[in-house]
């Protein structure tokens, strides 16, 4: 077998010496991208830290308007999707096409549930009139919760809430698109135990989005005590 045939059969690009080197390059590439994403979200987290420090009472009040049960449930759903994603990569690694597709679809379903709950929560924000600039004007019980920290400052909290969860949701939607592409590719039997880099790379991206939520949950939903 010539080198070219060997490359074609194993799904290896011609510039690489061997599969290990190709895998190393794939992993390095996606990690460099994820680092830029960390810095991207990092700016938001730094701004969040400053305003939370300046207007802690307002952030405390805003946090109490969110539904902690929905936040916790969504965290578990997203962690579940990370599990199915990891299992999907493992199935691709062992050459089990059926399981790869099944776990990818399970990941999409869990991601869909997460986004559905998020959409419901966003809708509730309109019901409670706590959407900055679009529908701002909390009343009754909501107002009573926000008043101690200053209603204007609570608006800053909700700007962070929407900016951070919104950016996270956009990443989830992109991830769902990538998963769909993987399902179509996997069904055509494009992956082998030698070549499953797309599944692995999308998996790393998906886990990263999960990590962002791991921080968003305590930082947005769990400010101040509920005792």
């Amino acid at each position: 077998m010539t080198d070219a045939e060997l490359h074609a059969e194993k799904g290896m690009a011609h510039q690489f010496e061997d599969l290990d080197q190709q895998h190393e390059a794939d992993a390095l590439g996606i990690w460099v991208f994820l680092i830029t994403e960390i810095m991207f979200f990092g700016g938001l987290f730094a701004a969040y830290a400053i305003y939370r420090w300046l207007y802690f009472a307002a952030f405390d009040g805003g946090s109490h308007v969110l539904d902690i049960r929905l936040g916790a449930a969504n965290t578990i759903v997203l962690l579940g999707s990370s599990l199915t994603m990891a299992l999907s990569v493992r199935s691709a690694q062992t050459g089990n096409r059926r399981a790869t597709v099944m776990f990818l679809i399970a990941t999409m379903i869990l991601g869909g549930i997460f986004l559905g709950v998020k959409a419901y929560e966003y809708d509730q924000k309109f019901v409670e009139h706590v959407v900055p600039s679009l529908d701002w004007g909390p009343e009754g019980e909501t107002l009573a919760r926000l008043a101690p920290g200053g209603v204007q400052h609570a608006e800053i909290y909700f700007i962070f809430y929407f900016a951070m969860t919104g950016l996270h949701a956009i990443h989830m939607i992109i991830g769902m698109g990538l998963l769909l592409w993987l399902v179509l590719k996997a069904r055509k039997d494009s992956f082998t135990p030698h070549y499953f880099a797309p599944v692995e790379v999308v998996g790393l991206y998906w886990h990263f989005v999960d990590i962002v939520w791991i921080f968003l949950f305590p930082l947005l939903y769990l400010i101040g005590g509920r005792y």
Partner: protein
Amino acid sequence: MSQPIVPQKTYLLVFLCLIGLTMLTTGVAFIDLGPFNTVAALAIAFSKMALVILFFMGVRHSSGLVRIIVIAGFFWLALLMAFTLTDYHTRTWTPVPQAWSTGAPPTHP
């Protein structure tokens, strides 16, 4: 291959740990620890992140080059956080000279 196949059981165990930590962080929010509520929430979030990175993202089996990239990323994030917060925290410590042309005496805190 450089990548070993991790048993399914490991992934399941990590997932159960993550669920346990999520319940723990939610539960801690209902206990009064004073300023340590925030410390606990962040400590749990960092533990969860470590589990996801090491096991789900497979950095446990990654090469030194990938590990250095990951560590450098978080180091830079730490710089971003540390210097931004230091700046905001200490801004009021130094008096800012202002309106010297009016002859007003400089203000000292």
